[in-house]
């Protein structure tokens, strides 16, 4: 006989049960006996207290406590940003918004996404500061101290955005203009790709170590993609990214200039452009 067969036989012993009639009569007897010893039904308040105590006891388990802590932390990270995102620089909740944004940046692992997000946050802050300063009810003699502080903050935010854009540029793989042209020129006749780059542009870009000039790709037959084509299209994407980042920097400069000239509404419009570009 195997152990399994023996266990099956033992399992059959589960069918040994007390008689149903005895169970019922004993139930009544037990109920009568415990009722005599002061048993009662609980009120709603008692039930609530018991539920709370039981939950607290269960929650004292280390695994449960850890899980609760993580859930709370994540919820705060995710939902607080939504909650405070509308806070303006002169609101008391603005500091909470800054903290929640920092938390969101902290939990973003990809460096490029983090930098992009940081630029977005900084431009949004700058935008909000400009909006507040554009309001004549706020921007008056009585609030000069606060206005000065907001001016400082605006400069700081623009500087942050610039720094992050430079990080983004550094993270984008450098594209060699010659390589881009030679790769893109492969099969250009067959696939209808037309690539052009003027010699002076190329020489200038290489000599000063600046962002390479844009390679214009007129048309690509996407249906028959081969390796060289993939390389050329990714190079084009990278070039477009670098161009976008340079463009963003330029608009930021314009926004700063407008802000310095106290043309807050135009500065807001420029910053909105930056925001739109980042969202693309």
């Amino acid at each position: 006989m195997t152990e399994r067969q023996l266990l099956e036989k033992l399992n059959n012993l589960k069918s040994v049960n007390p008689e149903t009639s005895w169970q019922a009569s004993n139930r009544e007897l037990l109920l009568a006996q415990i009722s005599n010893s002061g048993a009662s039904s609980l009120s709603a308040w008692q039930v609530f207290v018991i539920n709370f105590q039981s939950f607290a006891k269960a929650a004292s388990q280390p695994a449960f406590a850890l899980a609760t802590f993580i859930v709370v932390l994540l919820s705060v990270g995710v939902f607080s940003h939504q909650l405070f995102s509308q806070a303006k620089p002169n609101d008391s909740l603005y500091i909470a918004r800054i903290i929640s944004e920092k938390a969101k940046l902290g939990v973003t692992l990809d460096a490029k996404s983090r930098d992009k997000m940081a630029v977005q946050f900084a431009t949004n802050h700058a935008q909000d500061i400009s909006t507040v300063l554009a309001d004549p009810e706020f921007n008056n003699e009585a609030n000069q101290d606060q206005v000065a502080k907001l001016n400082e903050s605006f400069k700081r935010e623009i500087e942050t955005a610039r720094t992050r854009i430079s990080y983004m540029k550094a993270e984008t793989p450098a594209v060699q203009p010659e390589a881009m042209v030679s790769i893109a020129n492969d099969d250009k006749e067959d696939k209808g790709v037309q690539v052009s780059l003027s010699e002076p542009d190329l020489a200038a870009a290489v000599s000063v170590g600046q962002t390479p000039p844009v390679v214009s790709v007129v048309a690509v037959d996407a249906s028959s993609t081969t390796e060289p084509e993939l390389a050329s299209s990714s190079s084009a994407v990278e070039a477009a990214e670098i161009e976008g980042e340079s463009e963003t920097e330029k608009i930021l400069e314009e926004a700063e200039e407008l802000f310095n000239n106290k043309d807050y509404n135009s500065a807001v419009d420029k910053l909105k452009e930056v925001d739109q570009m980042l969202k693309k």
């Binding site: 012993l13 008689e19 609980l42 269960a58 388990q61």
Partner: protein
Amino acid sequence: MSLIGKFKDNKILEQIKSHDKEAFIRVYDTNVSDIYRFIYFKIGHKDEAHDLTSAVFLKAWNHIQTNSLESAKTLRALLYKVARNVIIDYYRERSNRQPLSLDDEANPIDIADESQDQAVQADQSADLELIRKKLPLLKEEYREVIIMRFVNDLSLEEMADISGKSRGNIRVLLHRALKALKELVEEEIADRGSVTQA
């Protein structure tokens, strides 16, 4: 036990401590069969098993109200602890107790599930008869662990809590108990075979 299980167990214990009779009756409904089976296979008499089962629940109620029992990790473990004490008291009172019989041949154990096929029921009866005959021959601690683990499905943790032994000890005990029972059952099967051949 899962966190939800622990929560429910804590909750029902707190309710009983607050004299909630309905909560206690729910505990009775859930556990009466297991406790009865545990006692029945330990003492071997149906009527006395009924009486002792009643006593277990009443004592458990009183213990919870007065907090006089050393705390058990679960409510089920607490019931088994009370049942063990009740059985010890029973043996003490009957110091000249007779050997275990698990009921006599004239009163075979009823198989509760009447919806089962007759052939299955016949098989079960044969198995039951075999185990019924051999179980009392085991050492008491072997019998106890076999019933708790393989009949009433208690966890090793609960068994350790009830018996005051470590989980390792319980595991060793279970292994030895199963081996001993297997030998007894195989012996019986071999005897039956030789009788049939003769």
